[in-house]
């Protein structure tokens, strides 16, 4: 079975590209000048988020804008957004590997690293969302399991997917860790070198890079690439069950699982583009990551974007057309009511602008695609707020104590506060902080894969 998914292993050893190895391993072996200042600034932002969370612990969820009339808000949106973008990184890499796209080589490591760092950050949002972090224990400890709850299955799905993401990042890294280890052997001994040698030895294990081991490695990566696609689909659809299995208009939608999956792919590809642009610039990898990589990722992105627009149209059309009290009122609130600004911001910035940028040839550059990707990530975060907050503020409970005489049926209100904003910004900074740390220890590009594919392209006359 593995023969089907194993990528061809060159019959002869591929030639070593010294220039590539030098360019890719340099940031691992030498600290770039901008690295420490960047880490300190990003670390300070993350620290501010931790301070805000401690403040929330002391003052309650109300300090983050939550109340009885808005029981879900920014943290739930962030959880969906961050886990979603991780999904994009893993699936993009998996699809490119399975379809054996030779141009993938400089992108897969960055995509897999993006998936690796965003997923745990997304998972962490469950802690501020719960309010009392002690409740986590009731989620993970079997005697407390509620097997009827979608939240518990979310936990199973996301933790399994996290494990898969770690392995998916690790396996293609093994031959590169071996290359880096060999390179380090030639370096003068120092603490920095020793730390990395220990790390690489642990990663490499007894892998020697023989053709049999290489074939076994490629088979494992291929199998994992197949596994990770349905796994990622399940993660994001199960995540939507927490919404869809409720009885609230706007949440109780059968379209939600597929809607979540497509949104995750759309924003995930966009974040991969942003990560690739940042890594390319910071680590001086312009020779290896070209405009065509951005444009191809851009096309992939807008394909998902068009599908997402269509699903948005479908959802709102059906709910509005049915004209049943709950869904119709919800559609009205979102499209023309109190949430019209964020909804139309998504529609323009996350739907039309990226499509236009990719449709107009002079705009279809690496800068254009990166700008479109920033729009997509931002607007898809806003769209998640539009999914979470309006339905959560829907008045299903009559507020008898309100000043309106006890019969208020008004919609609830969610407010952003410095607490919730600080935690959100800190989580965003944490993505880039973790990527900077990861790429100080592992090569940002998949060296051996690039050498193999370049060799294969030369010998078979393939296209890169």
């Amino acid at each position: 079975m593995t023969d089907v998914i194993v990528e061809p292993v060159p019959s002869e050893a591929h030639p070593v590209d010294h220039e590539l190895r030098h360019a890719v391993l340099r940031p691992v072996l030498e600290t770039p000048r901008w690295w420490w200042p960047s880490v300190l600034v990003l670390g300070a932002v993350v620290a501010l988020g931790i301070v805000a969370w401690i403040f929330q612990l002391a003052h309650g969820l109300g300090s983050a804008g939550y109340n009885d009339d808005a029981f879900w808000g920014i943290y739930e949106s962030n959880l969906v957004t961050f886990i979603g973008v991780s999904y994009g990184g893993a699936v993009v890499s998996a699809i490119l590997r399975l379809t054996h796209q030779s141009w993938r080589a400089p992108l897969t490591r960055i995509a897999e690293a993006t998936a690796l760092v965003t997923l745990p950050i997304g998972m962490i949002f469950i802690i501020p969302h719960l309010g009392n972090p002690g409740k986590i224990w009731e989620l993970v400890w079997p005697p407390y399991w509620n097997l009827s709850s979608p939240i518990l299955w979310d936990f199973f799905a996301v933790s399994t997917y996290l494990m898969a993401t770690i392995v998916f990042f690790y396996l293609p890294l093994v031959p590169d860790a071996k290359v880096a280890l060999e390179q380090l052997d030639a370096e003068a001994p120092s603490t920095r070198v020793k730390v990395r040698q220990t790390l690489y030895r642990t990663l490499v294990g007894r892998y020697g890079g023989t053709p049999t081991e290489r074939r076994r490695l490629n088979g494992s990566i291929g199998l994992l690439a197949i596994m990770i696609i349905p796994m990622a689909v399940s993660v994001h659809s199960v995540l939507s069950f927490a919404f869809a299995s409720s009885s609230r208009a706007g949440y109780m939608e059968t379209i939600l699982p597929v809607y979540f999956v497509v949104a995750a792919l759309y924003s995930g590809v966009a974040l991969v583009v942003i990560s690739v642009a940042a890594v390319r610039k910071l680590f001086h990898l312009e020779s290896y990551i070209a405009s065509r990589h951005f444009v191809r990722l851009g096309f992939l992105m807008i394909a998902f974007g068009a599908a997402y627009l269509y699903l948005t149209f479908t959802e709102y059309l059906i709910d509005g057309y049915s004209n049943t009290a709950g869904p119709a009122a919800w559609v009205h609130q979102v499209v023309a009511g109190r949430y019209w600004v964020p909804f139309w911001f998504y529609f323009v910035a996350g739907g039309l602008v990226p499509l236009l940028i990719m449709a107009i040839k002079p705009l279809r550059t690496k800068t254009g695609v990166t700008i479109a990707s920033v729009f997509v990530v931002l607007s898809l975060w806003v769209k998640r707020l539009v999914i979470v907050i309006p339905a959560a503020t829907e008045p299903l409970v009559r507020a008898a104590t309100k000043a309106s005489g006890g019969v208020s049926t008004g919609w609830g209100t969610y407010h952003f506060t410095w607490i919730s904003i600080s935690i959100t910004v800190a989580a965003t900074a944490a993505i880039f902080l973790l990527l900077l740390i990861v790429f100080r220890f592992v090569p940002a590009l998949s060296v051996t894969e690039m050498e193999e594919l370049a060799h294969e392209t030369r010998t078979q006359g393939g296209r890169s």
Partner: protein, 184 residues
């Protein structure tokens, strides 16, 4: 003698009754439509029967009024009201609803009767309720404690476990390498 006395007595009683009815009618006419909310004895696993009796100012039963039953939710600030069900009054002016809560203990209810969209009467009641599982029963086999549910949970957990084992096996497979003697 006895017959005239009986007649007089009958007239007296009848007059008093007519007077009482007339007075009652006047008193009723001067009041509003009434709603009396009552609760039956709570039965664990079955629920608590709530009955709203709606009478007109004249004391006649109001038919076709929609009664909305609500419960105070003390878990939320200000103990707001949550709608738990609706029923329409019958020819006797009675609307019945069985409340199946997932908790037990004293609970405050509000019933509001509406006719033609306008509220005509409201009643309140605090009664003790019994814990009920509204979804229990053999027809819900897909629940996690139902037959299908048990199997579904077992299969899903086995699937999760299989994935973890496969992932770990892939790592071990690559990490262990191969004997160097047979490879170049």
């Amino acid at each position: 003698m006895r017959t005239p006395t009986r007649v007089l007595g009958g007239l007296l009683v009848g007059g008093v009754a007519v007077l009482a009815l007339a007075l009652g009618g006047v008193a009723g006419a001067s009041g509003a439509t009434s709603l009396q909310l009552r609760a039956g004895a709570p039965v664990t696993g079955v629920g608590t029967a709530l009955t709203a009796v709606v009478d007109s100012p004249a004391g006649a039963p109001v038919t076709g009024a929609v009664v909305t039953f609500e419960v105070h939710v003390p878990e939320f600030a200000g103990s707001p009201l949550l709608t738990i069900g609706r029923a329409t009054t019958d020819a006797s002016g009675v609307a019945a609803f069985t409340y199946q809560p997932t908790w037990a203990g004293p609970t405050s209810f509000v019933a509001t009767a509406a006719l033609g969209g306008s509220t005509i009467a409201q009643g309140t009641l605090t009664a003790s309720v019994a814990r009920t599982d509204p979804f229990a029963g053999p027809i819900n086999a897909t629940r996690t404690d139902g037959l299908i549910g048990r199997w579904a949970v077992a299969v899903l957990l086995a699937l999760v476990l299989a994935m973890w084992i496969t992932l770990l096996a892939l790592v071990v497979r690559v990490q262990q390498g191969s004997p160097r003697t047979t490879e170049g």
